[in-house]
Symmetry: C2
Subunit: 364 residues, 2 copies
């Protein structure tokens, strides 16, 4: 079976949630945020234990594809599927499934995002292996993340009964998908014990997901089939462009998963998963010293009476001295210096909005 398994990395996103380090032109998956490797490189490394590079596909935009090919030369060029424009994750999944089905009708695909971080790689492999086994039984499998706080930033998956079967990891049917809740609801979902965060990681056979797409989004199904038919012909770009532009933008969760049949969930605790969506969540997955501090450029950080502080430094020889700091994030990023109380790091969004509004795009 293993030779029919593929990983599909979704890597189209831009975004400035980790501004001022991530910028319009350099989204966070292309940056070495957590060490030597970029998030994209770590994503590939993590997958390589299960998938050889020739069975890893990447769906991205043209501007990012060339940088990615430099960062991970092992993935063959034909495995990069280029989106002409963003049309949501439903379109990405459908395109990848349709193209893959023509290459290998028995393919099982594991959908990953390029810009998440996972600490526990062994558990990850264990989960993906189990998810592949479940997907073989024509289930749409989602990886859930056991919530650690009442987040309003993620969708939730409610688990139902155990799926039974002889799997290496507990698997449940899915009772419902829930969109990002308000705070009170998030608190209830956290306490319920049967809800996981929707991580955006899915595993399924290409024929299973395409059947669901045909049932729920027939226009999308027809478009990606036409594109896939033209894929290995000289008409590929023309067909791709014309059909893709006609698609409406839709997420896989809302467009497919919420009303899908035969959905299963593997709720994972202890994965050390983070979507690295803000400075405080980045901070959580870094290993602090005995004072709770993290410095990306340790030999250039001089800390006096400083605790629980992240010093993220993009400049090599610049000395950063902190005296009397608690619970702060310091980001020294070339033309921008940001100093932020950790629990206010979500307000980076406000700063980005402010800069847009005041025509200071050069900092974005």
């Amino acid at each position: 079976m293993a030779e029919h398994t593929y990983a599909v990395i979704m890597a189209g996103g831009g975004g400035t949630r980790l501004w001022p380090v991530s910028r319009k032109e350099t989204p966070k998956q292309l940056l070495p945020l957590l060490g030597e490797e970029t998030l994209f490189q770590s994503t590939v490394s993590r997958l390589e234990a299960l998938f050889p590079p020739e069975r890893i596909l990447v769906v991205t935009v043209a501007e990012q594809a060339s940088v990615m090919q430099e960062q991970v030369p092992a993935i063959p060029p034909e495995n990069y599927l280029i989106e002409p424009a963003p049309r949501g994750t439903a379109s990405v999944v459908a395109l990848a499934a349709a193209v893959l089905k023509r290459r290998d009708p028995q393919a099982v695909m594991a959908i990953q995002t390029a810009d998440h971080h996972i600490l526990n790689k062994d558990l990850f492999n264990y989960l993906i292996s189990t998810a592949i086994a479940v997907a073989e039984k024509k289930y749409l499998v989602t990886l859930g993340i056991t919530p650690t706080f009442p987040s309003t930033g993620y969708g939730y998956i409610q688990q139902g009964d155990s799926l039974g079967g002889d799997y290496k990891y507990p698997v449940y049917t899915v009772k419902s998908f829930k969109e990002k809740p308000d705070e009170a609801t998030a608190q209830l979902l956290l306490q319920s014990g049967d809800h996981s965060w929707n991580s955006g990681m899915f595993v399924w056979r290409v024929d299973t997901i395409l059947a669901e797409i045909e049932r729920q989004m027939p226009d999308l199904f027809n478009s990606v089939n036409e594109i896939a038919t033209a894929w290995e012909t000289p008409e590929r770009n023309e067909v791709l462009r014309s059909r893709w532009n006609g698609l409406k933008s839709q997420t896989i969760d809302y467009g497919i998963m919420e009303k899908a049949e035969r959905v299963a969930v593997l709720p994972a605790g202890g994965l050390g998963w983070s979507d690295v969506g803000s400075w405080d969540s980045l901070f959580e997955v870094l290993l602090p010293d005995m004072n709770g501090n993290v410095a990306t450029n340790k030999q250039y950080h001089l800390a006096l009476d400083t605790h629980n502080t992240l010093v993220y430094s993009a400049t090599d020889e610049r000395l950063v001295v902190t005296i009397g700091l608690d619970d702060m994030v310091v980001v020294d990023a070339g033309d921008v210096l940001m100093i932020c109380k950790t629990d206010q790091s979500q307000r980076v969004r406000d700063v980005v909005e402010h800069l847009k509004k005041h025509k200071q795009e050069k900092y974005l």
Copy 2:
């Protein structure tokens, strides 16, 4: 009388108390810490209301003299007295007095330091005029600063009886000079009501101070007289160097003032005086916005939920974003970034010591 009054600016000091902006090579008097002018330039501007540039003398070291001449071209080159090496303020005062006495035996000299800040220039002029009138009566006059907190960083002057006389400002005899106190003593001195900080500003006739020097430090008296005799001859440098090197280093306070006769003090409140000896004392003399913030580069500071914070920026187009900061000093100085809780800004000394000890002199 006015044509016999001179200002003598002592400007020899180096120092890193405002590190990382002030460095070994660029002491704080040469830096525009508080606006467009450097502290040295402000010192001269402040004095110019009473002293024309040809009656302002500067005692400094060779390395600083050329920068000062560029900063204030109005002061004639012959008014720069160059110390071959640091020998304390007693030596500086004695040299200036001896040289000046040969130029003008009736001279009254007002000793100033180049690196202090005074907000209330009108009151300053008022005090100096009064001090000159008192000095004419052969008093050694000191300007005291009414304490605003129990500082352990300054010496104190205890006032005695009113001097009487028809002066424009109250003048007192001096009962005693006290060296830098410990905290408990500083508290008592603050509460006493009859103690001022020793500001290092003095006014006296050159013959009065030279007579005191002759009485208390005869070696110094003889040396500076020999230097002054050679001053306008080709032997100046040779005599200066040989006599100066033989001097022992001594402060004017300890060497002369503590045991001097006929000492008077003008205790000044409301002068807005600061020795700008640390980041928090610099902060005190800057005008904050409605949130208590000061940014030296206002249009490049974006502040969200930030209060009582100083952003001192040496880089022009670098955007500094602060989110959720209270009572902080941020100093963005080229190769060093320092972020410091304001009430811990004295610990800059520890940082400087650390850098010396760890052979990181390039940052000093």
